[in-house]
């Protein structure tokens, strides 16, 4: 161990702690019983769904550049990507999300599904 190692270790520790605090405060800020799922593709919002108002099970397909898709499924209070033709299928493996602050990301299709809570800018349905 050299002299600078301790300084570096402290800096890294501060970085880790602040990133944890950052994530934690974001989750706190976004908490609440309100659950709006916001679906963004290529930076543009293409859908917002009030998950609390969903009855039964609904599915819809999101197209990406004509030949690619993500199959989104919603039930009351939760949402997931059921199927997709991206190479890694990480979006499918993420499974259901139901809490504000949680998200599903499909990077090859530039898709991100976020759940917003009580401080959401969006409300209700839009398409």
């Amino acid at each position: 161990m050299k002299k600078g190692d301790k300084i570096a270790a402290i800096c890294i520790l501060i970085l880790i702690i602040s990133s944890f605090i950052g994530v934690f405060s974001y989750r706190l800020y976004v908490k609440g019983s309100h659950k709006i799922a916001v679906i963004k593709q290529e930076g543009k919002i293409i859908n917002t769904i009030d998950l609390n108002k969903v009855k039964g099970r609904k599915q819809f397909k999101i197209k990406y550049k004509t030949s690619h898709f993500n199959l989104v499924e919603v039930e009351n209070g939760k949402i997931r990507i059921e199927d997709a033709d991206c190479p890694d299928k990480i979006c499918i493996k993420t499974g259901w999300i139901s809490k504000p602050g949680e998200s599903i990301i499909c990077l090859p299709h530039k898709l991100i599904i976020n759940i917003e809570g009580k401080n959401s800018k969006y409300d209700g349905l839009s398409n």
Binding site: K3, G4, G22, V23, P87, I90
Partner: protein, 171 residues
């Protein structure tokens, strides 16, 4: 060291880095393109044994060829962003601070910036900074892989120093 010897040696390094890269691609990750960055071990070795230009060369070649062999376009962008950022950081730390920092620390910093670079590119692609929620997890893995890489590089360079072509070089 003659130019030809250097070129051959660099080619060896790039080849080894490619093999590491391809094997590493089999390990499942948080989202496509994010890699553990184990091949950075080779860039670090090149940095110590040859110099910063060679280290960058190895990294660029490895990223380019690696993406042609086994990755997607987005994987390429992540690797380049993470690779350049982490290499530059390691070069600066090594050049100016090598008396104060052990190899593992330099490599850990490189790994951290590798991940920060990857997240930066990802956040630009989906135009949403919330991907940084993954940062704490990535930082933890960066520390572990960084330390592991530093350790491996230490062994690698210590043994390579014994080769006649590297006589006289010291950390």
């Amino acid at each position: 060291m003659s130019k030809i010897k250097k070129m051959v040696f660099l080619s060896f390094l790039v080849g080894i880095a490619l093999v590491i890269y391809v094997i590493e691609s089999q390990i499942p990750v948080l989202f496509p393109g994010i890699k553990l960055g184990l091949a950075n071990m080779i860039s670090l070795t090149a940095l110590i044994l040859l110099g910063w230009k060679e280290a960058l060369t190895v990294m660029l070649l490895r990223t380019l060829l690696g993406s042609i062999f086994g990755g997607t376009m987005s994987a390429f962008m992540f690797s380049i962003a993470g690779g350049i950022l982490s290499n530059v950081v390691m070069i600066i730390l090594y050049k100016y601070f090598k008396k104060f920092l052990s190899l593992s620390t330099i490599s850990i910093c490189g790994a951290i910036f590798h991940n920060i670079g990857q997240l930066l590119v990802a956040s630009i692609i989906i135009e949403d900074f919330r991907i940084y929620i993954y940062l704490p997890v990535l930082l933890m893995s960066a520390i572990v892989t960084g330390y592991f890489i530093g350790w491996c590089t230490k062994f690698l360079t210590e043994n390579l120093y014994k080769l006649p072509m590297f006589k006289g070089l010291k950390y």
